[in-house]
Symmetry: C2
């Protein structure tokens, strides 16, 4: 039985955003710099993609000042996880993965 209703999500599909979500789906929370390096983009590009995911309500951004340094961490919202799972399900359907 299918757990999520497959639904193609244009906000998630672009490579950088698919990667961000894929990472967050596994680690639950990750810092801005780590995500930027993992995705392999510049600060501005990551910032812009995160902003779109945030605007869609898929990612939650937490800014904290730790040890005098600004730390921004990212995490999927429950809705973001649902959307991601649904998108992945749709990808599998499209690509013949069941």
């Amino acid at each position: 039985m299918t757990v999520v209703a497959p639904r193609f999500d244009a906000v998630i599909h672009p490579p950088p955003r698919l990667q961000i979500c894929g990472l967050l789906a596994v680690v639950d929370t990750m810092e801005f710099a780590a995500a930027r390096d993992a995705v392999g983009v510049s600060d501005s590009v990551l910032s812009k993609h995160v902003k779109q995911l945030e605007a869609a309500g898929y990612v939650k951004v937490q800014k904290a000042t730790i040890a005098s340094r600004q730390r921004t961490s990212l995490a999927l919202t429950p809705e973001g996880r649902r959307a991601f799972d649904a998108h992945v399900a749709e990808l599998r359907r499209i690509t013949g993965g069941g």
Copy 2:
């Protein structure tokens, strides 16, 4: 063991092209009109996407005049199948599907 080397392919990734490849991966060959309807795009749009897949050497286009009517059928080339499989593998890797 991995059968294909995961490799993100920008030619395949865009939704319409991912769909076209996904369809061809299953049916081996499909007519232009059937693909257009399955993907849900206009003639011109399908034609343009197919052209890109063809330019990349991923899809083979065969035009035949059958019963006085032009019939264009599409099929994945061996290289197209490899590229599609590799892209799908990469998507699974990114999306945490192994």
